[in-house]
Symmetry: C2
Subunit: 192 residues, 2 copies
DNA sequence: ATGTGCATGTAAATGGTTACATGATTGT
DNA sequence: ACAATCATGTAACCATTTACATGCACAT
């Protein structure tokens, strides 16, 4: 009964959507909100991409939808992960971690930073620092909220996944702030 | 004499290429090596993308090429940044830092980690940790090499940019390793 | 009446990867 | 002979963003 399509490989976006649907059923609209806000900020995608990917996942037999009433010109579709969908997520989790190419504009600025005089370079760093501090504060508030709920400490509970996600964001920005401090210090060494 | 095209905005890849060309003249081939190896590993791009982008930058008047002898069926082109090109890099450096969406597969795994029993989740973390340790060691060897050259401490010298870039990579992976330790600790708390 | 949120989709354009294509030089 | 490195480009495809399009319900 399982379609031949289910052997096809799932895209990273597909895995992200399946990962959310393993927690709860959702409409495409709900998924698009989860992907860009709140504790679940872990993979971003626009609705245009999400609707297309859901159709692909359904063709591959990894999700299934039921029509529900909607406030709009079209019907709404509530998506649920299938057994095959859940299995494909678990199989991916157990596979070797894939290489990641990050194209971070901050790194680009770092590479070109020598072109500016030290005082202007320091201003660039200040801008990066400010943005990182804001993000860090946001993630720390997410972590506090999860800690108060209490379920973030229980492996086997979805909140554990959310906590791990938020923690990664916190650690990232703490590292970035340390970087700002290091680079700024070296700039000052040459000035003073 | 400056073309109207020069007011167009430059892509992130374009800025990365200009950033390298501000250090030294280079052929497309040399740029493609710099973008994927060694100390300058800060923005990745394949040669197919680089040749196309160089043509665009030249049309916009930001780079200029001179033909040189080459070992192959075609002539080789040595690219140099123009005054306009250099100015556009400086202008970008002084602008507000842009938002960055990072789609990191490790974060995706973090989000889904609760689906695995604690012992298997620990194995996933071990795989991530191993990969991060390797990268960290590589970046640390880059930093040592830059320290020995001595120019990495001098703002105004290209090596300062390389050092800042490498430092960011080191801080990132140190943060990631801390994250692995944190998550693993929480997994063990529930087991023991 | 005006805007915001719910809810879905399509189309066009840009960014990035993979594959195809060519051919000289140098080392094994 | 064969592979690796130098050196350039095109074409097809996949991923992502931006823009276009529709229309109901509810609050100001």
């Amino acid at each position: 009964m399982v379609a031949a399509e289910s052997t096809q490989q799932v895209s990273a976006l597909g895995r992200a959507l399946l990962s959310v649907l393993c927690r709860r059923e959702a409409t495409g609209y709900e998924l698009s909100r989860v992907m860009s806000t709140s504790t679940d900020y872990f993979w971003s995608a626009r609705h245009s991409q999400i609707y297309a990917e859901l159709a692909r996942l359904e063709a591959a037999g990894l999700v299934r939808h039921t029509d529900i009433a909607a406030a709009g010109p079209r019907q709404s579709k509530r998506y649920a992960v299938t057994g095959d969908g859940r299995r494909s997520v678990l199989q991916w989790l157990r596979s070797e971690p894939e290489a990641h190419v990050d194209r971070d504009p901050v790194i680009l600025r770092a590479h070109a930073l020598w072109l500016l005089p030290p005082d202007e370079a320091a201003q660039v760093l200040a801008g990066i620092e400010r943005a990182s501090r804001e993000r860090l504060a946001l993630y720390q508030s997410f972590e506090r909220a999860l800690d108060e709920e209490g379920q973030g400490r229980v492996p086997g509970h979805p909140d554990f996944g959310s906590w791990a996600t938020v923690r990664a964001g916190i650690e990232f920005h703490q590292g970035r702030l340390r970087w700002c401090r290091d680079v700024r210090r070296r700039l000052q060494q040459s000035e003073g």
